[in-house]
Every structure is written in C-alpha cells, then in structure tokens.
C-alpha cells in the first residue's frame, strides 16, 4: 500500500491509474478572521421546519407512486447487448455503467476499502459529505444537531471522535486541537467530487498518527474534467437553500482550471421536547483548482478555498451562581481557508511528488472558546520499482502547527499561544510472489511529535489472488493516536455541583472539571484484519472484512486532588478529572458489502456492520465516569439501496437504513426510509427530488460528549435540486 499524510490514495499496489489520479486531489477549508464579542444572539435565521400537512400529503403520494413504479418494472430485464454487432459509432455513444467501476479501484488493496463514486453520491440523495458516508459499512454517522455530527470508523464515536483521519485532496482536515474533524466546515461542491475512498482500519503506516481506525480521502475531479459551467439550485424544508456555481477553462492547452462558489442555508430543528433548538446555519465558500501539464512527466496542481460559516446551537453551560447552569441559544462563527500546491513527476518506473499546503481555521464559539489554528505541511513521496518484484514507496514530511486561543470560564486550553512541530518518514515495500498472485506489503512510519517523541507504526499485509475474480487479504498493523492539544492543556468545567448538594455536600459550589495532562501518552492499537472480495461478474461484486482490534492506553479521566480557588468569584471547590491512559480492551466486527446489478437497469447495494466493543478500565483506574465507549456505538447497522433506471430518463432510488440503539446514551434504534427520483430530460439539465426519513420516524441519533449541545430530532425532510451544466452531450 501506499500513501502518506497527504494525497489520498488507496492502499496496496493498486491499479496504477488510481494511484495517479489519487495524487491529484485536495480541497477546502480554513481561514479568516472571526468576529469576537457578542454572545448569545437569538438567531434570526431560525426557521419553520418540516411540518406542513399538504406537503406531507404530496410527499406520501409521490412516494407511493414511486413504489408502484418500482414493483411494476421489476421484471423486464434485458440481455447483454451484442457489442460485436454494433458499429464503432454506436459503441462511442454507449454510456459506461458498471459495478466494476467501484471494485476495480479496490481490487488490489490489502485493506478494507470502500469507494463512493459520483453516481453513488447522486443516488444517495446526500446533501453534504457526512450524508454520503452513511452508505459505507463500518462507518458510523450520527447527526447531533443540524450542523454537528459524530462520525467514526469501527467504534469510539463522538462529536470529538479522534481516531479517524480525513483528507480532502491530500490535505489533512483533522484538527490538532482535539484530533477530530470540524465536519460542519468540510465541504466541496458534491458535483466536483470524483470519489470518496474510505479505508477502515489503521492506515498509519502511510498516513501517520491518527489514522487509527480509518482514513477518508475525499478526492475531487481534475480541473480538466470540470470544464463546463454548472449552476445548481437546491431547496427543501431542512436545507432551505443551496446554490452552487462553477465554471472551468483552459490555459492554452497546458493547463486547466475551475472555480466555484457555494452558499447554503439550513433551517433550525427541534429538540426532543419540541423546542426550537436554534441550530440553523449558513455558509458561504469559494475555491479553485488548476492543473498544469509541464511536460509529459511533470504536472502541477494548485488549489485553494475560503469559507465563512455561522452556526447556531442550544447550549447548556455550568455557572457558579444559582441555578448553577444556564441554557441559551449560542452562535458560532467558523471561517478559514487553504492553499495547496503539488508537483508530480512520473517516469517509466518511478514517480515523485512534492506537496505543500497552508491551512487556517478560525473558530469562535462565542460563549465557549475562540481558537485560531494555522497548519503548514510539506510532504515528499517517491515511488519506484526495484527489479520485477518490488515496488517501494518512501516519503518524508514536516508539519508546523500554530495555535492561539482565547479561553472562557467553561473551556480553556494552555498555553494560549503555542507552536508545534511534527516530522515523519515512512518506507514501504510491496513484494510480488508467484506471478503476482501473492503480494506482501510491509513497512513502517516513523514520526516525531512534541508531546510523546518518536512513534513508529509498522504494518504487514498479504494479498492473495484466489482466482481471476477473487482475492483475500490479511493484515496486522500498529497505529497510535498522539495527544491532542486539549489532552495536554485543557480545562473544561463540566458541571457545577451546588452548595450542600450530594455527593460533595460542600458549603461552596464544586466544579467537576476535566483537565489535560502532560503525562498523557499516545493511545495504541494493534489491529488484525482479514478480508475477501469477489467480482463474480461485471454485475456482481461482494466484499467482506473482519477485524479484531486490541487497544491499550486509551484515555481515562482520573480523579485528582480536590482544591479550592477564589477566582472567578465566588470561592469554589474543584474536583479535577485528569487525562490518563488507563483503559484498554478489544473490539471486533464484520462488514459485508454487496453490489449487484440484478438487471441491466436495476442495481442493488447492501451493507451490514457488526461491531462488538469490550473496552474496560484497567485495574489501576479510578475513573468515576460510568460510560465506557462500548455503549456509544451501534452494534448493528444495515444499509440497503435499490436504484432503478426508468424510461423517459428517470432514475429512482430507494434506501432503507437501520441503526441499533446506543445503550449508554439512551438513544433508541431507528430506521429510515430515504430516496427520490432524478430526471434528466435533455442533456445538461437534471432535476432531482429526494427525501430522507419518509416515514417521519422522528429520532435523535446521538447525544454529544463534553460540550452540552442540545441534540435535535431528525424528522422527514425533502430536497429539490435543479442542475444545469453547459455543453454536456
């Protein structure tokens, strides 16, 4: 396998074409100043919602019709066209559609890889990146409120989930602040996405620390593939409005570019008791990408984005005076930007790439915390063949992180201004035996960070071809999650226990506060994985992966010595809970996926995820927190999609999802029936109507950790979109 920190890329000596294009990715996020100050605005942009009786009526009717159409058409199959009877002209007009598109990309990977194609995105009706990930086995996607998500791979989910690495076109969008992802500001025009590669399991050898349980590579199309102009307007009850404009052009045959602008506005939702949660949000962003061909071997990519986002929430924070907590509507501002450049040289037997980017994120959650992060990253990779049997990849990188923050009573991170450095290098060899029927990949990453020093993350992977259409793989790998800034220097005042109240019965208020600590070490994982995949024919593929993960040194919150402070007034006691590494245990799971073109116009996709977590505190832990990560993740998840091509350029999709309960969060199991219809009456025009949760099974999907944001209910939503693309034949 291949790939480090930067550019996306599927594991293992996979399809070359893939490797090349994979290097070409990257995108959006960070930078801008934020308006400090003003707290707690009542958001003027909170809006109606999904409730309108007549709309409901129409939706149900439309939906029922779709159902009937589906069942009526179920049986009229077509045989394979006889391509030898077709003329060259006819062949040139045939549209390529195939299951194998997805699986070719992963056929040679000795890892659990899933590729979301552009067509998958359209068929899923997804409105943003988190929603596209719902189809991936092994990935948990839970919405907290309209603009916050908890997303993780193979367990340990949370708003601040810290074991998943996400890259957009080779740029890591993980924040060193808490080792997680601000999902609310990770966006690209979905039409420009080439594919999203999701690797479950450790990817640390190539991507480094924090690629513990998975890596998500969001890869946009090269500028050459987006030369047309595009205007897209969407609207619905939840996403009230979303507008995207994109255009492309050429620099005298030597290069191509595109630029886009996007705006969206989401309505606020409701808490479980029906109250308005004031969690609407709107965001504007713009960006560009240009790809240059310098010579036959050399190419250059430049790209960048800017965004500004304003997001609401209903927040509860502790206070030192009665009633010792307050709940209010809070507004957060996020802004940021990034700029990335990458040079790639490919010659017959080797390829080099050099990539650098700058990424700025400004985060201002007025009542809680203000943070500015600047990340500068430079990364080199060389990939070459040694003899006939060896393919070697090595690389080195440097990352500089600058953080400055402004604390509040609730949250503070020390120091307020800091600069951190990370150095890394990796080496990996893929050796082929038995006519390439067996491939062994082994290598390691070596990484230095300011908190824990050197870390090494080796892996070994075996991929065997059982036949032309079947392969199996096994892998053993080690990954670490290095401490986040918060785990070193955080103080989070979680709860204030009023004077005289149990369990302290103290004469003054007592704060239960979570503290970071310099003794906090990396969390460790050794993962054992096995997988099998089959591409039985052009229309059927299946993939199954199973894993056993053994974690040690997971984070706990250990009680420290009680102390009293006078500031801020009134004097109060503090019960500290300090970050330590005293939890361990195993998780295991199995993730099958099937893609079947039952008929030439009917595709069925199904996946299932099973996850069992047996995490326990070590005997030396006195962490009083009752919740282990075990009950915060669904044990079973099901996803099923039917996609049907209808006459008259119509395409219809139906999705059924089921997610079982999160026992320790008291979140019950839920099911959702999603789907919609797409119509392309003439080339260049596309109309889509999609809905989520058609049966209006109102449910919450998660309860947030650490920061007490009001979770909101997911109800029925619908979205209409009109897309115009110039010059498309």
């Amino acid at each position: 396998m291949n790939r480090h920190e930067g550019r996306p890329q599927i594991a293992a000596g996979s399809v070359q074409e893939n490797r090349v294009s994979a290097r070409a990715g990257e995108h959006s996020r960070p930078s801008r100043a934020c308006t400090p100050g003003t707290q707690r605005w009542r958001t003027a942009w909170s809006v109606p919602g999904d409730r309108s009786a007549s709309a409901k009526r129409i939706l149900v009717a439309v939906f029922a019709t779709m159902f009937l159409v589906t069942s009526a058409r179920g049986d009229s199959g077509q045989g394979a066209p006889d391509v030898t009877a077709m003329s060259v002209e006819d062949l040139m007009n045939m549209q390529v559609t195939s299951v194998s598109k997805r699986s070719q990309k992963v056929a040679d990977a000795a890892a659990a890889v899933f590729v979301i194609t552009q067509e998958d995105i359209k068929r899923s009706g997804a409105r943003n990146i988190p929603e596209t990930l719902r189809m991936v086995p092994g990935i948990e996607v839970a919405r907290i409120d309209e603009n916050k998500w908890a997303i993780s791979s193979r367990g340990f989910n949370g708003r601040f989930a810290d074991k998943l690495l996400v890259l957009i076109d080779g740029r890591s969008v993980y924040t060193p602040l808490f080792s997680g992802v601000y999902w609310d500001v990770q966006d690209v025009p979905l039409e420009d996405v080439d594919r999203i590669e999701v690797i479950r399991g450790p990817g640390a050898t190539l991507w480094g620390a924090n690629a513990v349980d998975g890596v998500i590579n969001i890869i946009t199309k090269p500028a050459k593939a987006t030369q047309s102009q595009l205007v897209q307007v969407e609207g619905g009850n939840e996403q009230m409005n979303s507008d995207t404009v994109r255009f492309g052009g050429k620099f005298q045959d030597k290069g191509y570019y595109r630029a886009y602008a996007k705006y969206f506005d989401w309505a606020s939702g409701n808490g479980i008791a029906g109250q308005n949660a004031a969690d609407g949000w709107h965001q504007v962003r713009g960006g560009f990408r240009s790809d240059w061909t310098l010579s036959r071997a050399d190419s250059l990519t430049f790209q960048g984005d800017l965004y500004n986002s304003r997001e609401g929430e209903t927040l509860t924070i502790p206070t030192l005076s009665a009633p010792y907590s307050e709940t209010f509507q809070n507004v957060g501002h996020y802004s940021g930007g990034n700029l990335l450049g990458r040079w790639t040289r490919s010659t017959g037997n080797s390829s080099y790439s050099l990539q650098g980017y700058f990424d700025r994120t400004n985060y201002s959650d007025n009542s809680l915390f203000v943070d500015h992060e600047s990340v500068f990253d430079i990364d080199f990779q060389h990939d070459f063949h040694l003899g006939d049997a060896n393919e070697i990849v090595w690389g080195a990188g440097y990352r500089s992180i600058q953080d400055s923050n402004v604390s509040s009573f609730t949250v503070s991170v020390q120091p307020n201004h800091a600069h951190y450095n990370q150095f890394s290098a990796f080496l990996q060899d893929e050796v082929r035996f038995l006519d390439s029927r067996l491939r062994v990949t082994f290598g390691s990453k070596f990484e230095h960070n300011d908190f824990t020093g050197w870390e090494f993350e080796p892996n070994i992977r075996f991929l065997g071809s059982i036949s032309k259409t079947q392969s199996a793989w096994v892998a053993v790998s080690r990954a670490v999650r290095t401490p986040a800034l918060t785990e070193e220097g955080l103080r989070l005042n979680d709860v204030v226990v009023p004077p005289g109240a149990p369990p302290f019965n103290s004469p003054v208020p007592v704060i239960e506060a979570v503290f970071g600590s310099h003794q906090f070490q990396s969390e460790d994982l050794v993962a054992y994985e096995i997988g099998y995949r089959v591409q039985a024919s052009n229309s059927f593929s299946a993939d199954i992966a199973a894993f056993y993960n053994n974690y040690t040194n997971l984070r706990t919150a250990e009680p420290g010595a009680f102390f009293v402070e006078g500031s801020p007034a009134p004097p109060h006691g503090v019960v500290p809970l300090v970050a330590f590494n005293r939890m361990s245990g195993g998780t295991y799971g199995i993730e099958p996926f099937v893609d079947w073109k039952a008929l030439s116009r009917w595709e069925l996709v199904g996946s299932y995820s099973f996850l069992q977590m047996n995490i326990h505190k070590n005997s030396d832990s006195s962490d009083p927190t009752p919740d282990l990560p075990n009950g915060e993740n669904p044990k079973h998840q099901f996803y099923f999609r039917s996609s049907l091509e209808l006459p008259k350029h119509l395409q219809q999709n139906l999705i059924v999802r089921h997610v079982t309960q999160l026992s320790s969060l008291n979140v019950p199991a839920y099911s959702s029936l999603d789907g919609g219809i797409r119509w392309t009456p003439v080339p260049g025009w596309e109309f889509a109507f999609n809905g989520e949760n058609w049966l209006n099974h109102r449910h919450t999907e998660f309860v947030p950790d650490f920061v007490n944001t009001l979770p909101t209910v997911v109800g029925r939503s619908f979205n209409v979109s009109v897309t115009w693309t110039s010059g498309k034949r």
Binding site: A61, G77, T84, M92, S98, Q104, G606, Y608, H658
Partner: protein
C-alpha cells in the same frame, strides 16, 4: 391515500421488514455469488464496450499480407497484465469471426514473448512498464491497444480513454505505419489522432 396512516404503527413493522430484508439479501448474495455470473452479464460495462471496439478494430484494419499462415488461422489477441475486464473479452469474442478468422485470446504476463500475436491489449496494470512492453513489439505487425494516458503518444497504436462516461479512442498513425498495419479511414475519422512523443523526442 396513505397520509393519515398512524405513524407509530407503521414504524415498527417497517423497521422489522427492513432488517429482515437486508439480512436476507446479504446472506443470499454472499451465499450465491456465482449465479450472478451466469444469470446475467448484461449492462454496458466499460469492458464490454471495449470488447466491442476491439472486435470492430479487427474488422477495420489490415495486417501485412503474409501475417496469417492460412485463410482460417485465428487472430491471436494477447492480454498483457491483469485482465481488468474479468474475462469479458474472452466471452464476447468466443465464436466470433472476422473475415473467416476466429479469435484466440491469450492471457500473458509481462516479459513473455508476443511475437505470434496479432493484437496486444496492454492492461492498466502495466502502466509502469509501457515502454518495456512497447519495445518488445516494436516494428512487428502487431496492433497494440492500451488504456492508460499517453499510451499512444509513447508508441502504442490505439489507446482507450473514457470521457464523460463514454469510451473514446486515440490513434497514433505513425506507430501504425511502423507496424505495417493499415487502418480504415472510417475508423480514423472517429479517432482522436495523437502524435508520437516518445523517448527520442521529449517535448
């Protein structure tokens, strides 16, 4: 119709139904991967289309007069590298004839002798070894077909490209001349003609 249905009573059965359906579907699919292979293969997959093109290419070009030993000797097609089509080419060409000649499809590894072949299809898996493979067939009357960017520029005769989900092809006319293969003008009219830019004249 249905908008007055009591939602609560609907949800349970649907959840149940969804669960059962998914499990059945996945089990069935996992247990019987093979039927799919025989029961279908329809659909316009990229490689099905490419196979159609290859058949047409064979039809629309001429090898040098002494290439075939007898009027019914087969047109030998070698697939070099991983068969990205998963056997589709074999299936499509089985039993088909061009000018009385059947097809014989061989699967070869890189480095194997290509001399007896009439058409060589270089799989995308061989991207890193194009120059080596093209060198092997240089000046031989072999139609080389590739599917990687710059295949034709580097001396291959025909290269498939996929543009907007449609299969297109490039032709390097100079390379065809060197191989002494004549391509019908009808085919050339539909191709994107590309120049040779290999080794000697880097541009």
């Amino acid at each position: 119709m249905g908008f007055q249905i009591d939602k609560e009573s609907l949800i349970q059965p649907v959840a149940q139904w969804a669960r059962v359906l998914c499990v059945c579907f996945i089990c069935a699919a996992l247990a019987f991967p093979c039927p799919a292979q025989t029961a279908d293969s329809p659909d316009s997959s990229e490689y099905l289309i490419k196979a159609g093109f290859i058949y047409n290419f064979a039809n629309l070009m001429q090898w040098p007069a002494n290439t075939f030993s007898s009027p019914d000797s087969p047109i030998v097609i070698a697939i070099v590298g991983t068969d990205t089509s998963g056997g589709i080419l074999d299936e499509v060409l089985a039993g088909k004839k061009v000018a009385g000649r059947p097809f014989a499809v061989k699967h070869l590894k890189r480095g194997m002798d290509l001399k007896g072949c009439n058409i060589v299809f270089v799989s995308a898996s061989e991207t890193a070894h194009l120059d080596e493979i093209l060198h092997l067939v240089k000046n031989l009357p072999i139609l080389t077909i590739g599917e990687t960017p710059s295949f034709a520029q580097r001396g291959g005769i025909i290269n498939f490209i996929v543009v907007d989900d449609k299969v297109r092809f490039e032709v390097n006319v100079e390379a065809a001349k060197q191989a002494d293969i004549s391509i019908s003008s009808r085919l050339l009219a539909l191709a994107k003609i590309v120049p040779q830019t290999d080794g000697s004249k880097v541009q």
